[in-house]
Structure formats: C-alpha cells, structure tokens
C-alpha cells in the first residue's frame, strides 16, 4: 500500500488536501478530504444591521460572490416580510445577475481550473502510443489548455488558446455583471426587497451585446456549432435518447473526418466540448466512435455505493411569469432550475429544507453535539495547537470542513445535480447510457459535461430575461424600514455555481441580528466523514477508483496521480466557502455563521 497525498490541490479556491492509500493496482482504498484553514470571522453581524449581510457575506467567496449576495437578499426578503412583494423586475434582475455569474464561474472552472489537467504530461505519454493521431491529439490538448508559466522538460509552453480565451470571456462576463452591479467581484445590487439598480434601455442593449459576444465564444471555442442548435437538440430534445444521439452523431461526423486528416483543431469543428466529449470517455470515444485511446474519465469519479450518496438542489432563478413575489421554501417547480433531492439510484424526491443537518464528528471544532440542525449550529474552533493534526486517520478529526447531510445522507451538489434534477435530456440520457453499459452512471466525465451543459441552459434563459422579461420602466425595490425586521427570521435558498446555498437569519426586538448562518455547497462536496462514519462525496468519488491517467494504461504512476486531480477538481472545490469558516457568530445565544 502506498500513501499518496495531494497537498495542496491547487487551481481551486482556497487550501485543500487529499490523503489516499493506493494499492499495487493503483486503486484508491482510503481517501480523506481535508480543509486546511480556519477562516472565522465571528460576530460579524451580531447586533448589526441585517441589511449589511447582502454585501458582507459575498466576501466569503470571490468566485461566486453574486450567489452569496442573492441568498442573503432572499433571507432578508423574508426577514423583512416582503418576499411576497419583491417586484417581478427586481427578480428578473436577480436572475440575470446570477445567470451571468453562473456562466462566468462554470467557464472559469472548465477551462482554467479543471481543463489545465488535460495538458498534464500523462496524456503526452498516453496518446504518444498511438501514432500520428495520438500525437495530433496531444498537440491539440497542449495548444489549448497549457496554463501560464507552463514548462515541460525545460521547454516553455505558450499559454493555451482556450485557457486564454476563457479568461477573456470571464472578464467580459464580469463587465456585463457590473453594468448593473457596479463591480465584480463583490458587486452591489442585491438588496432586501429588490435590487439597488433599475437598468435602463441602454443597459439592456449593452447586456444583449455582451451576451452575443459570449455566445461567439461558445460557438467558436466551446461547441463548434451554434448555441441555438445545441440547445434545441439537447435541452429541448424530445427524449434523453435523442439528445445523446445528437451529440454522438455530431462526434461521429467529426471523428470520421479527423481520423483521416489528423486535424483536431477548433477550425475542424472540434470545439472544446466535443473534444472532451469524444476523448474523455471510454464508452463514447473508444467503443462508440472507435478512437484509439481516451482519458477514460467515465471510469473515474463514480460512487461505488448508491446507498450512501444523494444529489441535492435548492432550486434557482425565479419564474418571471409568476409576477411579483416568490415562495421562499422553493417548492418543486417554483424555480426555473427546480429544487429536488435525488437518491443514489437517481430516483427523484421532493426537497424539504428541514432535513438539513451537519456533523462535526471529524472536524476541528469543539462542541457537545456531533449533529445539529443549521439553526442551532455552533462553531467553536479547536484552540489547542497540538490538536490540529491531519495525520490521525479517518477515525479522528481531520478537517476544518463540517459534514452537512440531507436526511443523514452526504450529497453531491452542483451543475450535475441540478441538470439531473431538472431532467435535462442530455445529462439524464448520458447517465442512462453509462448505467446501461456497465459504467458508473455518475462519473467525472458526466460531471464536467453537466457543467458545460448548464452554461447553455442558463444562457438560453438569460436571453429571455434580458430581452423579453425585463421592463426598464418596472419597479425594482419595495421600500423597507429596519423596524420591519423586528423579532423575525428569514431563509434564503439559492444555487451557487457549485451547488445549493442557504442563508438563514434571525433578529431580536431591536431588529438587530441574533443569528446568521450560511450552509455552503463546497462544505457538502468536500465533507469529511459524518457522525455515522460515511465518507463525504469527494471521498466516495475517489474510493475504489484509480489514481493514474486512463485507468493505469501506462502502469501505476503514484507521482502523477492525475485521477485524483481530475476527480477532486471536477467538484470545483471552493474552500473559502466550504470551511465553516465564517462563523459570523457572536457570544452566547447570538450566532451568525457560515458552514
């Protein structure tokens, strides 16, 4: 048995470590997910004006600040008792705000944070075995995804064209966000009762113009076909089977031409998504398309036991057709991307926010209770330096991350869960395809394609919000007064790019905060063991899978455990969010916190 540690796992937000035990075949037999930092800022909002939360809580995360501010705004709407009255146009502006952030965040993740691993020299070695075609594929991977300051064998590699293009696109999306939100990261805009800014007709024109520029990127870099064609044939396909067929047919055309020409460039129609869709999967790439080799990402990152995992979405994006106001409990069907809980066998259930709890059994906190519901949460960091020891094994405490559960079950959150729960035909169809062919239905490949698919799904809604639903002469806020928040409480359920995000707030008779709490997506995904000893989602996604490229086609390479990189990064870890960091609590009964 060999101990393989990745510390730090870079190209994520924050500081994170993974410890594994790996056997001679390269199979991971033990995995520990460790958050390496405490970031508490306690008492942040205690006795404070609750309205500050929409601006302050976004400082939790510079990658998805928008989501925090909107979850906070949701909690404040209810706290002030105005959730029924938030004007429709304010809700549309919130949708646009989040939609742009989701697209920016997913894009950054796919290209800059995750995609860079496709330029790992393991793939040079792998594809190098397959003649001119293999070499052409490797050259293409390097040409697209090499990060800044990359060197291989002492040779400086130019920055990848897709990597650089994605950075420009993210920047463009941030510009679009700031048209209404002033700046990004940490925009303004989200506010109790609505938003701070009513866009003008000119803003709408500019938003549309940004939109089409981003769609140029999607067409020319990401898809190789027009976004409209893609969406029509995937999201709006009449069956999951048809959606999968559309993609596979397209890949077949490309493959037929390129296996002859050895041209896998963007110009030859190989957008980044088709390239990944073909070469990422053994089933689709090798078995269906007849490619000589693949990265076998469909064999990695899956869960071996469906009974110890679930998939959760709180739902996101208000429905403009429902007019003013919204239901803060996010019942099924009330948001554009619906709430729901899917069990490990992919059976859908109704979401109930009262089933959320969290465990600190394996985290560096001091508390008399191992499990608590969010409203009763306590965060007392371990004060004793010697107790902060990451090497004591799975029975011990080994992370600053807590372990949230839904009905006692660890859950994967994020684009994959959302696409499954909203029954997107392409992602649903892919999961079925894998399962029927003896592959894990959920795997690193489908996780990444779901993130790409979500960009398209959100983009198609975004255009409607901007050009059809948004009325610049509408209303953008209802008046509120601090006294309306007297002795009250509120809950804001939302979806950040990385998954379900909830903020909870309560106030006393002086309208000042007595409790503030956020339960954050990466906490779920990167959780350590829970009280029952069930590993967290990333841990489960590593256990039983292999560490090396392409299922050890090259033999086991403990020194380049790219299977771990792919899988762990496919969850888009955000430690700033995950670490129960931000205990915004105060003394005694006054508590404000973020897990």
């Amino acid at each position: 048995m060999v101990e393989v540690t990745v510390d730090q796992l870079t190209r994520i937000e924050g500081h994170y470590r993974i410890d594994t035990q790996v056997n001679e075949e390269g199979v991971i037999t033990e995995a520990q997910s460790m958050g390496l930092m405490l970031r508490g800022f306690e008492r942040f909002l205690q006795h404070q004006d609750p309205r500050d939360a929409a601006l302050l809580t976004q400082r939790i995360c510079g990658v998805c600040p928008t989501s925090h501010s909107l979850a906070a705004a949701g909690a404040l709407d209810q706290l002030f008792g105005v959730e029924d009255a938030v004007p429709k146009d304010a809700l549309v502006v919130r949708n646009i705000h989040q939609g742009l952030n989701t697209i920016a965040s997913n894009t950054t993740h796919i290209y800059v944070l995750w995609g860079t691993d496709l330029a790992n020299p393991a793939y040079r070695d792998l594809f190098g075995n397959f003649g001119d075609t293999g070499k052409a594929v490797w050259d293409e991977l390097l040409r697209r995804y090499a990060p800044i300051s990359y060197r291989l064998n002492g040779v400086d590699i130019p920055v990848g064209v897709s990597y650089a293009a994605a950075i420009r696109e993210k920047r463009r999306l941030h510009e679009a966000i700031s048209l209404m939100g002033a700046k990004m990261p940490h925009s303004v805009l989200a506010h109790v009762g609505g938003v701070t800014y009513g866009p003008t007709l000119a803003d709408i024109g500019q938003l549309a113009s940004y939109y089409w520029q981003v769609m140029d990127f999607v067409e020319n870099f990401a898809l190789g076909v027009s976004p409209e064609t893609w969406i029509e044939n995937t999201r709006f396909a009449s069956s999951p089977q048809k959606a999968v067929n559309f993609v596979v047919d397209r890949l077949q055309e490309l493959t037929a031409a390129s296996l002859v020409s050895n041209d896998f460039s963007h110009a030859a129609g190989w957008g980044d998504v088709p390239l990944l869709a073909a070469f990422g999967s053994e089933l689709i790439g090798e078995e269906v398309l007849g490619l000589p080799a693949s990265m076998k990402l469909d064999r990695t990152g899956g869960y071996s036991n469906p009974d110890t995992i679930g998939y959760l979405s709180y739902g996101v994006f208000y429905k403009p057709e429902d007019g003013d106001g919204y239901d803060p409990t996010s019942p099924p069907g009330s948001r554009v991307i619906s709430s729901g809980y899917m069990d490990g066998n992919l059976k859908l259930h109704k979401f109930d926010h009262r089933k959320i709890s969290e465990s600190i059994a394996h985290s560096f906190y001091v508390d008399s209770e191992a499990d608590r519901f969010p409203w009763e949460g306590v965060t007392e960091p371990e004060p004793e330096p010697d107790e902060i020891d990451y090497s004591r094994g799975t029975e011990s405490r080994y992370s600053w991350i807590k372990a949230p559960n839904y009905d006692g079950m660890p859950c994967e959150l994020g684009p994959l869960s959302r696409m499954l729960i909203m029954e997107d035909p392409l992602i649903t169809g892919l999961a079925q395809l894998f399962r029927e062919n003896g592959y894990p239905a959920i795997n690193t490949y489908i996780r990444m394609l779901a993130r790409a698919q979500e960009i398209l799904v959100v983009a198609s809604e975004l255009l409607k919000w901007v050009t059809v639903d948004l009325d610049p002469s509408g209303k953008f806020a209802v008046p509120t007064d601090l006294s309306m928040a007297k002795d009250s409480e509120g809950m804001g359920l939302w979806e950040a790019p990385r998954g379900a995000l909830g903020h909870w707030v309560a106030t006393g008779p002086d309208s000042r905060v007595t409790l503030y709490q956020a339960v954050v997506p990466s906490t779920w995904n990167l959780a350590p063991r829970n009280t029952a000893g069930i590993p967290g989602p990333v841990e489960q996604a590593l256990l039983g899978n292999r560490i090396s490229a392409a299922e050890n086609a090259l033999g086991v390479d403990y020194t380049n455990p790219i299977g771990i990189f792919h899988t762990a990064r496919s969850f888009d870890p955000c430690l700033a969010c995950a670490i129960h960091t931000i205990d915004l609590t105060g003394k005694e009964e006054e508590r404000v916190r973020v897990i």
Partner: protein, 436 residues
Amino acid sequence: MGIENSPDRFKHLDFMKMDRRTFLKAVGALGASLFLQTYRSDVVKALEFAETRIVWIHGGECTGCSESLLNGGEPDVLQAFDRLNIRLEYHELLLGQQGIYVDGEMVNTSELNSEILFEEVVKEEGYILVVEGAIANGPNGTGKYMILGGKTYKDIFRKAAENASLIVAVGQCATNGGVNSADSDIKDLMDFRGVAFTMEDGEKGMLQELGIEKPVININGCPPHPDWMLLTLGAVVLGKIKIPDDLPEVLDQWLRPKVFFPPDSVIHDNCPRRGFYDKGEFDTVVSGEKCLWKLGCKAPYTHADCAIRRWNGYHSLCPQSGSPCISCVSPGFPDSSRPFFQEIEDVGIAGTNIDTVAKVAIGASLLAVGAHAIRRVAVKEAPERKEPEEAPGKEPEEAPGKEPEEAPGKEPEEAPGKETEGAPYKKAGKDEGEDQ
C-alpha cells in the same frame, strides 16, 4: 488626479523617457489597458529589460483579488504580463502544478509539483512577492489555523518574504486583515494579520511579528481594481518607481500608491450622483437615481479613484449602481464602514457616535447652506486611530535620508482647503472641518 490629466496630454510622449511623475499621471489617467495600448511599442523596448519574477501567494481570502486581476490587462492579463516581461513563477490558482507526496516525500519535479516549485523559486532572491489574503497567526502564535503542504502559511510567508525585493500586498485581507480581522469573539484566538498592518494598527503586521524588514506597497480594496495591481507592478517593473527610494514619496501613510488613492480627493468628488447631493436631494429607497448619502454612502471620506477610473470595462461605480460606497479601500474596512446603509450622522464611523454639537451642525448646515456640510461634519467624527506617523515606521531602513514622518506629515499642507477629505484617518479633534 483630475481632469487636467486628459489622455491627449500623453499621446506624444515616449514613456521610456517620462519622468516618474508624468508616468504616474499617465497611468492614472489612461488606465492599464489604454496605457499598454498607447505605449505598445515602448513596452516592446521595455522587454529588453530583464525578466521580472513574481511569486504570488494566497492566504486567508476569498480569491476575489486574483479574480479581479484576471479582469485586467488588454486584451487580457496574460498579455499584459507578457508585455511587461513578467514571469509569474508561482500562483496557486493559475499554474499547472500541485503538491504531490508519496509516502510523505515530495515527488516528481517542479514542472508538476508546486511544493518543489515553491522551494525553487524562493531560493533565488530578487522577485516581487505578491501577497493575497490574510496570514493566520493563531492559535497562540503558531499559525496552525492554516497549514499548507505541511507548513504553516505563516512560515510560507516568512520564507517567501525573506528573499523578496519588494512585497506588494493586494486586497484588504493582505493589506489590513480585512474581513478576517474584523472585530469578533474569536478574533484574538484566530489572530489573522495583514502584511504591514492589522486593521489600522501599524505595529501588528505579520512582517513586524516576524521581524522582517522589506519595502511594502499596499494595494487596498475588496477587491482591488485590476489597474491598481497591474499598473503598480508595471511601474516597478519598468523602473518608474525606484524601490525603495521612491516609496515614501509615492505612497500614502497606509503605503497605498497616492496615484490611485489620492490624499487630496475622494470618490464623492466625481460621483455621477453628485448633482443631487449638491441640491440636497437624497434617495431613501434603493433603485432610485438620487444621492445615496442618506442610504449610508461612505464615498465622501473614501480616497480612491473609483469614480474616475470606474470598474470592469471602465463603466461602473458602486454609487452609480445605486449602492452606497462602503469604503472598501479604507484600512479599517469593514468595521470602519458599518452599518453600510445608515447615514454617518446617525451612527458615526466605526462605532464613534457623532456628538450633539455635530448633529446640530448638520441640521443647521443642511438648512442654511445645503448638503456640503454633511461631509465635513461626518469626517470630523473619524475613528480614533494611530497617528499616521506610526504607519510607515518601517520605511526608514528602506529609504535612508527620508524621514518617515515626511510623507504622511506633509499631506495636509499639500492640499490646503481639502483637509477634511483626508481626515478619516486623522485623530478626531484635529478637525479643520470645524469651520462649518
């Protein structure tokens, strides 16, 4: 900073021959992307200069500063680095490497292993160290609240700082502790530090804690504008600011470049809603178009060029989007700006309540001479803080011959009649604003 800096003035200048002042004015007026565009061919000449190495480390943070950096440059930050002949040697968010250990030993090479890479790059002196995020000192000075690659971040910072020729702290967390250091029950236990300050305390920076003396530039902001970061790095790389000799002159008492954080003007001076302020027309509900003073705007005492530079594509600004400025560039942020949505006359700044006299003054001046008076009175009630002279206490070593007191001390004289605008960091009581 100001209108006289119209871009035209710089068009026909060879920036290689510009003196520092003109250079700083040009970057102030043009912004990073325009500047790099305008002087594209000059920059090519600059490439003959040696490559500049940058080591960028991440502590307790949200990574928003790196996100903001990625919004800079023209057409992107990668090209900006390229033109300035900057090699980003280490940056956890952007580089290909990660830390890899097998049975406890570092494996592979620096081309794949970030831990080996880090050791290699900090071994060789003479890089610019960029620090993002606060540095954990707790519990009990061990720094164990943040352990990366088996080392405390405090140690990593020490290692990286020792061989750096300059430290640039980016963002509030690194400059002043930011949200990590905000007042709380466990603040002392966690003990997060900024590089040279912790909140407004110039004695409690991590450098002082470690006894390391290095020149420091603070790029404040939550997050900082990408121009502030890129242009500062550019000015240093191109030798327009000599390290450390020029620092006392180009930085304010908080070690912020005056060109971006002008001591003699505030955001409010150039706010697009300023006309409403002057007429005394205020919004009390968000999403309107009038002045946000009554919704808590802190721009009248915030020294930054946000209103002329604007954000993200140079088009936007917090008050423009209907949200009060929360003074995210001020050393005491966020404590010094809260509550965000209440006007200062009601609550004071940083918990300092405005006294009755001031309240009467506000009332009277509003009636008598319009809203201008508010700013003066509010500023007068600035929070108690250390004398500015204490802040650059580590400068003398770096800048022999320049008294540390000189730079901050002369600000008020430089801007007669604008004293009040510089005042939030003055001790209450030194208030020239009393003439109101």
